[in-house]
Symmetry: D2
Subunit: 187 residues, 4 copies
């Protein structure tokens, strides 16, 4: 009998939250990055919308596959299960290794191309949790976060883009009707 | 006074339908491609879900920008407003010119990476409306469809991916509750 | 002491050839796909240019990282070292899993966007070695090729694009001078 | 008789330099960004390698198409030849409009994925000429640079990546032989 490979969005959300927790990251930390990024543009952002957006993204199938595979590669690197020379490349997070960024760009773009630029911003400026993951990953004996720092940055970038889409949708309407907006905003 | 640049999803949907119509394409024709593509995998696809999916995609901001700019480049090519040597490259749809495919891959991927492969399939096999646009575009004096054939294929590819996501969501649930699925499926 | 993570192009080429061999694939098989794809457009393609192009691509740093990581994920899947539910998703090559295609699109595009469409063609039509990898991968107890079939198709697609660039370069010159073309063609 | 659509690499290089000049940008300015970006990592970068790298990129077919189309869209926007509402979106460089970044990511990645992150860095920090283009573009009556600022940043990002590849290639060789490296480095 074959194992199940398809999961509902609620199941994927829960497994993603669990995996992030095992790699030391919370939904709230990710939402905080999205909040700070959008707060540069408008004062109308609520932390709750950011949390909702992060959870929305964590329920998407593509996000599920990227998070699960990325975290698994980091774990297998921690445990030395990967062959050389790849093991050293991953352990040292070689600057010219770009597959973690490839994951980040794809995940960051799930709510539109602008999410890829938002990811670039986070990747360069390394706010909060990203800086923490990055420095733990670089420490001798620290958990490997070669993929996770990019994945977490990308979730924040996509959430940030979703928040911007919501803000724009509200702005675009002359007489905004909350009910109508809600329906309007599901992708 | 600056003109408005932000539009609601309903406005974008309506402008996109209008633009496609001016370039001779209907929502139903696009939905038909998605329907045929998904019907290879399952018999549970309804034409209405395909039409809904096409309309959903036509209401997205990224789709709006890609469709409006792509159709405008085709129109400016028709009217000879573009400088040489670009005009001839666009008019003859040079095989090595890849920006139309770049538009297609980005638009096709709006519901996940698999949409980019779905776009590749449509791009190679040129079903129905794609073949028509392609052959009109190649005819001396015919409307230029260098961008439009890829854009239409990509809308179908993204719609097809959305339909697959819905099918999977239903399959993933033991006891599917339509109401819950609906809420679950908004991106 | 840290292990080396940077390799010369000759070293990367040799390691890639070795890895492909361990996963049952030869340079010549890949070159054959590129040859057949370009032969549809022109009769001026030589098998030697296709082999040279495949070897060129196998010496690129991004190709090295994608091939090494992709083959390693397949190997770890074979050995059951990956956690559930990811292990079953990879073992059964779930249709909605798109990271292998993400690898393929990035690798296929190393000589230009058209390589991504060439990859789409190969992905859909599954010529020769791709069909073999695909059917072995689907067999109970067969080697897992969830990543490898896309990677091999993408190497062929990039090689095919390089061949097209060379053909175009020769065509573009009124009085082609081989020496000059050679210099002209290095990227 | 059909116009020519295929050009040699020398022709494309010359047309690109001419187009950049018409839009007020020089090769040297672009090379300067690549130089500054790589100088953060190593002191072994020469300005000449950066200039060579920019010229290499300007001779590539994909770069040619992206530069020519991007500059042409900016010019048509300047002249008001584009239909509303697209004209206002382009004129005001709407934050949610992402096709210019799509061009930038594709062009920036021509020497590997890391070029896309390099592009993200330039896009966020807006060094030198990028800042100038950006502020001219935002001025009432100034030339439109909605596409050009991203294109120029992306050329610099790809050049920067090529310089890194060269540096790595030299580092990877125990006893570097300049002649051999030269041959080794053509893509």
């Amino acid at each position: 009998m074959k194992n199940r490979t398809l999961y509902s969005r609620t199941e994927m959300l829960n497994m993603n939250i669990q995996t992030l927790k095992e790699r030391t990251v919370t939904v709230k930390e990710i939402a905080k990055i999205a909040f700070d990024q959008q707060s540069k543009w408008t004062s109308d952002v609520s932390m709750q919308t950011c949390i909702d957006s992060v959870e929305k993204i964590l329920s998407l199938r593509d996000a599920f596959h990227i998070i699960q595979l990325g975290a698994e590669i980091d774990r297998l690197t921690d445990e030395g299960k990967i062959k050389e020379p790849l093991l050293s490349i991953l352990n040292q997070d070689l600057g010219m290794f770009g597959i973690d960024e490839l994951f980040g760009l794809e995940l960051g773009g799930l709510y539109g191309t602008i999410g890829k630029t938002n990811f670039g911003d986070i990747d360069v400026n390394k706010p909060d949790v990203i800086e923490r993951l990055n420095s733990v990953g670089k420490k001798e004996g620290g958990m490997c976060h070669t993929f996770l720092d990019d994945i977490v940055g990308a979730i924040a970038a996509a959430a940030s883009t979703r928040v911007a889409q919501i803000t724009n949708e509200i702005e675009a309407k002359k007489d905004p009707n909350i009910e109508e907006i809600k329906l309007d905003l599901d992708l």
